[in-house]
Structures are given as structure tokens and as C-alpha cells.
């Protein structure tokens, strides 16, 4: 009996020492917070066409990042609470801008994350610049964020149209798909994609025999006129730049018209796992596309995806993973800077080299704030090849970070 008590006592002492030692070791120099807390605002589409690929589950991912950061460094690692707030921008640029303004000014938000829909992202980049507060874009693809509209407080994290084009455009052209017919949604994103793809196809020795804009939003949901035209033009590759619901309609009808049997290969500009869920994997089987990340790419990615699955019941898209990664790296930067002051954090981020389960071989480029990192060329598996639910794609090759990034000289960014 006495011995048991003795052992217990020893355990308690050991545990309390261990606890002290742990927190003592993890806490760095004092962190000074500007308003006694860190507020992360996630602004994205939570009710429209992009709600599934990012939306509420990205908010969940950011919350996971905050929890994991706390369990790594202790609850009080930054000397104050870390809050996550969120708003639905409904893909409207004006609403996005006014939400960002409100969050920065009234809710003391230190950073805005995500923001799919290029026009909304560009309007928030402007607000961030005016307010001198941070914005890390994950969901939008426009290269203008690190080009004509670049500014000191805006970073572009996961992917852009240049990366998509350099991967898919080059790979498919080199594999023998020389003659392209491009169809794109006729708005900022689609036009940007068309330009980027055309440049990569031509520089790889291919040609674009024609390109057509489809109405956006496409109220009829019908792409058969363009698909019949494709049958007429007989290109080797049909390049589809549509996204979300439009893409699903187009691919459904591509299969219906049996263009594959006429040796017209489908290449897709931007593909999310949620698109594959919508149509069933066999509808996309064999399609090649470029993506910054796939949940099943390796064990490190898979470990995180398992945690995400347990929480949300789905496997993450790269937007979900990108939001977690960006939030986590932001908190790390505050810790290193010893402050959440925007200028101090920007200084800490610029030129930073890092890697995590999402970003591989990452460097935050000082000149234009593009986050350089490896991209993947992937191919959709057939249902028969899939080993489990959501096992949609396999990696064909890795595109090294410097190849996947637009050269600084081409970006045309003049930091104010």
C-alpha cells in the first residue's frame, strides 16, 4: 500500500515536471499582439457553385490548423486567443470587399484567407492593400493577384492559371495532342485560362485551331453546340476551361456525344475532387489535369486527410488542405516574428523557405508574393482501379516548383 502511494506520488511529480518542462521548452520569446488576440477571417462561397470545393469545410480546416498549432506550442503560444470568423461572399466582388472591410476594421481581423472566384479575390486584394492587413489567397486562380494587382499585403498560395496551363497544356501537347480546340467560360477566369493555355501549347509546338467562349453563367446548361463543333473541327484535344457545375455539364455531354471514340481527347483546365464526385469517376477516367495536391499522393498527405475525413466525412480537396496549410504557416510566422503586426509578418514571410503536408519545396517569392511550390500532373483513375472511396486520381509526374511558377519577369508585378 505504502509502495503504491509512493509510486503514484512519484508519477505525479514526474508528470508535473514534464508538463512544466514541455511548456517551458516550447514557449519562445514573448509574442506581442496588437489587440490581444489573433483573428483569422475565412471569406468564401458557402452557398453557390464553389461551396462544395471549399466553403464551410475550409473554415473547418482552418479551425483544425488553429487547434493543431495550440497543441504543438501550447494554448497560450501567441499570448492571446486565436479566433476564426467567416462570411459567405456569394461570389460577388462587391460583397466580398465590404465583408473584408468590415472584418479588418470592426472585427480586428489580422488576415483574410481563401476567397475563390477571381473577381472577388481581386477586390479583397485591393481592400487588404488599403487597410495594410494580410490576405493569403488560396481559392482563386487569377495570375493578376501576383501581377498587375500585386501588393505588399497579398500572397497567392495554392495554384494559379499559369501552373494549370504549364502542367496540362505542356504535358498533353508533348504527349502528341498537337491540335487543340479550347472552350472556356467567358469571364475573367476563363479568358485568363485560355491565354495561359494557348501560350503553353504554342511554346510546346502545338496549335490552337479555334477557341470559343461559352456564356457565363450558362443558364441552359447545354454545351452540345460547342461539342458538335468539336466533332466538326476534329482537334486532337478538347481543352475545357469551365469550372464547377459548368464543367460537370460539359463532361456529361462530352461522354454523351462519344467524342472520345472520335479520338478527341479531353483535357481539363481545373478539376476538383468534388467535380468527380458529381459525375462519377468513370465519366472522367483517363483525363489528365494539373493540381497542387492530391490527398492520396503520399503518407504525409494521407495522414492529414484521415483527420479531415474523421471531422467532415469527406476527403479534402486541395482548397481545404491549402486553407489549413496557409493558416498554420501564418501562425508560425507570427510566432517567429514575435508580433502579429502585418508589416512584421510580411517581412517574416518574404523569402521564407518551407514545406509541409501541402506545400512541397515551398519558397515565398519576395518580388511578387507568389508561393512557389511543386505541382502535380495527375490522371483520373477508372472506378475499377480505385481502392477506396474518394480514391480518384493518381500522380503521373511532379512539376518542380520553378517550372510550375511564372517567371518573375513575366509577372509584371510592381510592389507599391
Amino acid at each position: 500500500m505504502r509502495r503504491t502511494v509512493g509510486v503514484l506520488l512519484a508519477l505525479v511529480i514526474a508528470a508535473s515536471c514534464g508538463g512544466q518542462g514541455g511548456s517551458g521548452g516550447a514557449s519562445p520569446a514573448q509574442v506581442k499582439l496588437t489587440d490581444n488576440k489573433v483573428v483569422i477571417a475565412v471569406i468564401n462561397d458557402q452557398s453557390g457553385v464553389y461551396a462544395d470545393l471549399s466553403g464551410k469545410n475550409s473554415v473547418e480546416a482552418v479551425k483544425m490548423a488553429v487547434e493543431d498549432f495550440k497543441s504543438k506550442y501550447g494554448d497560450n503560444a501567441l499570448g492571446g486567443p486565436i479566433e476564426v470568423i467567416t462570411a459567405d461572399h456569394q461570389n460577388k466582388p462587391d460583397l466580398a470587399a465590404s465583408k473584408a472591410q468590415e472584418f479588418y476594421e470592426r472585427s480586428n481581423a489580422d488576415i483574410v484567407l481563401d476567397v475563390p472566384t477571381s473577381s472577388a479575390a481581386l477586390s479583397i486584394a485591393k481592400v487588404a492593400s488599403d487597410q495594410k492587413k494580410l490576405y493569403i489567397n488560396i481559392g482563386a486562380a487569377s495570375t493578376d493577384l501576383t501581377g498587375a494587382s500585386c501588393n505588399k499585403y497579398t500572397f497567392h498560395y495554392a495554384y494559379d492559371t499559369y501552373m494549370l496551363a504549364v502542367g496540362t497544356g505542356t504535358a498533353v501537347t508533348n504527349a502528341g495532342g498537337k491540335k487543340w480546340y479550347i472552350v472556356y467560360p467567358n469571364y475573367a477566369f476563363g479568358q485568363d485560362m485560355e491565354k495561359s493555355f494557348r501560350a503553353q501549347i504554342v511554346s510546346s509546338g502545338g496549335s490552337v485551331i479555334q477557341s470559343d467562349g461559352s456564356p457565363f453563367p450558362n443558364t441552359t446548361g447545354d454545351f452540345s453546340a460547342l461539342l458538335l463543333k468539336a466533332g466538326q473541327l476534329k482537334p486532337q484535344v478538347l481543352g475545357a476551361m469551365q469550372a464547377g457545375g459548368d464543367l460537370v455539364n460539359l463532361v456529361k455531354q462530352y461522354n454523351e456525344f462519344k467524342l472520345k471514340d472520335q479520338n478527341i481527347k479531353l483535357a481539363i483546365g481545373l478539376l476538383f475532387d468534388t467535380d468527380i464526385t458529381a459525375l462519377g469517376q468513370d465519366a472522367f477516367a483517363g483525363v489528365q489535369y494539373t493540381t497542387p495536391w492530391i490527398w492520396s499522393m503520399d503518407q504525409q498527405a494521407r495522414d492529414w486527410a484521415d483527420k479531415f475525413l474523421a471531422r467532415t466525412k469527406i476527403r479534402p480537396t486541395f482548397a481545404h488542405a491549402g486553407n489549413y496549410s496557409a493558416a498554420f504557416q501564418y501562425l508560425e510566422a507570427i510566432r517567429r516574428a514575435g508580433s502579429d503586426d502585418a508589416d512584421a509578418v510580411v517581412k517574416e514571410l518574404e523569402g521564407y523557405k518551407f514545406g509541409d503536408f501541402f506545400i512541397r519545396n515551398g519558397t515565398i517569392r519576395k518580388e511578387d508574393h507568389w508561393v512557389m511550390h511543386d505541382a502535380l500532373l495527375a490522371e483520373v483513375k477508372s472506378k475499377a482501379e480505385a481502392k477506396e472511396a474518394f480514391d480518384y486520381s493518381k500522380v503521373i509526374s511532379t512539376i518542380p516548383a520553378d517550372k510550375a511558377s511564372r517567371p518573375v519577369a513575366e509577372a509584371g508585378c510592381k510592389m507599391p
Binding site: 460547342l226 456529361k252 454523351e256 459525375l279
Partner: protein, 291 residues
């Protein structure tokens, strides 16, 4: 541009027109007998597509039975809506029912969105229609030809039922001169609920037919309904023949315009509507007093 290619585009127009025709036929029948502009018609179309999807997913009931079952189920739901809600507002200004059905649309859409998300659900074409036949030097999906043929048959059947049967006679009489019909001792009210259910069933049927071609998503109806209203206005409010003719006409014109320039495809229905309203305000087949 060769003729075969143009012919294919014409088929496309007819296939799209089939959906417009079926949906606006239902709208016209309902408007005819009740003077209610049913804004929820697009939502019923969407429910038809989802009914087919759910029958396949949950009960392994394929496309062919779904063509019959889904419209019956959704039509029955429509009848309940009529009995519980629409009926109560029918004596008031038509605007009330317009607002009610608009609200219903939002409710149904959001309920489906909560359950299924927005991304859409897969639905395959039936195996026996999955192939394509060659017309000229290009292939054309058999399923689309089936949709065209089937819709024309349904429209003809509806026309026959209205023109050549006793029920049709009563419904037409109640549509054209409700007060006079009542004066002859016919209970017009008795026919309202079944006719509403029938119109809703037609929308659901269009939804089932659309499922293998279109993304089955909660918003598919709201995208179609605006187009359909244009079709009904072009054809003449409440006119059966007008709805069908205008449906196919708009489908074909939109497709042909889309060949010239894809941006025109969405615009042509509304341009046509504006012209028709200027030249024949009651629509192509409408009479002034029916509006």
C-alpha cells in the same frame, strides 16, 4: 459549314426544345385553369430529376420505371401543395400565388441543397439508349433522339386528351369560360387539383428526361424556369399549342444562334419575347382575354 452539321444542330435545338415544351406545357395547363403563374415549376422539374436519381440510388429502380413513377410521386406532392397552400390564395390577387410559389421554390431548393449540396449527382442514360448513331460523318447520341420523339408523343397525347375526350372538354371549357362552365352545372373546382398535379407531373417528367443529359443539382430548375417563362409568353399565356410550338421554336432558334456565336444562345429567347410582345402582345397563339 455543311448541311449534315446544321442538321445535327437542329436536332440539338429540338432536344433542348423538348424540355421547354414539356415544362411550359405544364405551366400553360395550370395557368389556363387556375390563372396561377406557378413559379415553383422549375423546382418540380428539379424534384423530378432527383426522384429519378433517388429511385436508382436507394431502390435500384432504373430509368424506365422512373419515367412513370417519378412524375406520379412529384405530381402527388404538387396536389398536396395545391390543396394546402395555393387553393387558399386563389381568390386574392394573382400576385399572392406568384409570391407563394416563388417562396416555395426557395424552400424546396434550399432543402435539397442542405441534403445533397450543390455539386450535382450522377445519373447514367439507360443502357439501350446509351449509344450513338452516325448522321453524316458525325455521331449523334441516341438518347437525345429518344427525348425528342418521346416529348413529341407526350405533347400529342396531351393534345388528344384535351381535344378529343370528355375530361378534356370540361377542362377546356373551364379554362376558357370558367363562370359560364359553372353556370352549366359543371363543378370546375373538382378539376383544379388533378390538373395542377398533372402540370407538375409534366415538369417532373421533363426532369427525369433531363437527368442523363444535365447535371442533377438543386439549381437546375431555377436555371430553366426563366427560359420557360419566356417560352410561355411567346406562345401566349395559357395556350397549349402555343406553349409546345414556342418551346420547340425557342430551342431550335437558340441552337442555331449558338452556332453563329455562343453568346447569342442565352439571349435569343428574350429577344424573341420582346419582338412578340411588341407585335402580338397576347403571344403567338394567345387571345387577348385569356391573359
Amino acid at each position: 459549314m455543311d448541311l449534315g452539321y446544321l442538321a445535327l444542330q437542329l436536332f440539338n435545338g429540338l432536344a433542348n426544345g423538348s424540355f421547354y415544351a414539356l415544362v411550359s406545357l405544364g405551366l400553360a395547363v395550370i395557368f389556363g385553369i387556375m390563372r396561377v403563374v406557378n413559379f415553383a415549376h422549375g423546382a418540380f422539374y428539379m424534384l423530378g430529376a432527383f426522384a429519378a436519381y433517388l429511385l436508382l440510388q436507394e431502390l435500384q429502380i432504373g430509368f424506365w420505371p422512373a419515367v412513370l413513377v417519378a412524375p406520379l410521386v412529384v405530381g402527388a406532392f404538387g396536389m398536396i401543395v395545391e390543396l394546402l397552400l395555393i387553393r387558399r390564395l386563389i381568390r386574392l390577387d394573382p400576385l399572392y400565388n406568384f409570391l407563394l410559389t416563388f417562396g416555395l421554390t426557395l424552400l424546396i431548393q434550399d432543402a435539397m441543397r442542405l441534403r445533397f449540396g450543390l455539386q450535382g449527382q450522377p445519373y447514367p442514360a439507360p443502357a439501350e439508349l446509351a449509344g450513338s448513331i452516325s448522321i453524316g460523318d458525325a455521331g449523334y447520341p441516341v438518347y437525345r433522339l429518344f427525348v425528342i420523339g418521346f416529348s413529341i408523343l407526350v405533347c400529342l397525347a396531351v393534345w388528344y386528351a384535351l381535344e378529343r375526350t370528355r375530361i378534356g372538354l370540361v377542362v377546356r371549357a373551364a379554362t376558357e369560360r370558367p363562370d359560364l362552365t359553372r353556370a352549366l352545372g359543371i363543378k370546375v373546382e373538382r378539376w383544379i387539383t388533378p390538373v395542377f398535379g398533372f402540370g407538375v407531373g409534366l415538369a417532373a417528367l421533363a426532369g427525369v428526361l433531363a437527368a442523363p443529359m444535365r447535371n442533377v443539382s438543386p439549381l437546375m430548375g431555377s436555371e430553366l424556369i426563366i427560359f420557360t417563362f419566356a417560352v410561355v409568353v411567346i406562345g401566349g399565356m395559357g395556350s397549349i399549342a402555343g406553349a409546345v410550338t414556342a418551346g420547340f421554336l425557342v430551342g431550335v432558334l437558340a441552337s442555331v444562334a449558338g452556332v453563329a456565336n455562343p453568346a447569342l444562345e442565352n439571349m435569343v429567347a428574350f429577344a424573341l419575347m420582346a419582338v412578340v410582345l411588341l407585335v402580338r402582345p397576347a403571344g403567338l397563339f394567345g387571345s387577348v382575354d385569356a391573359g
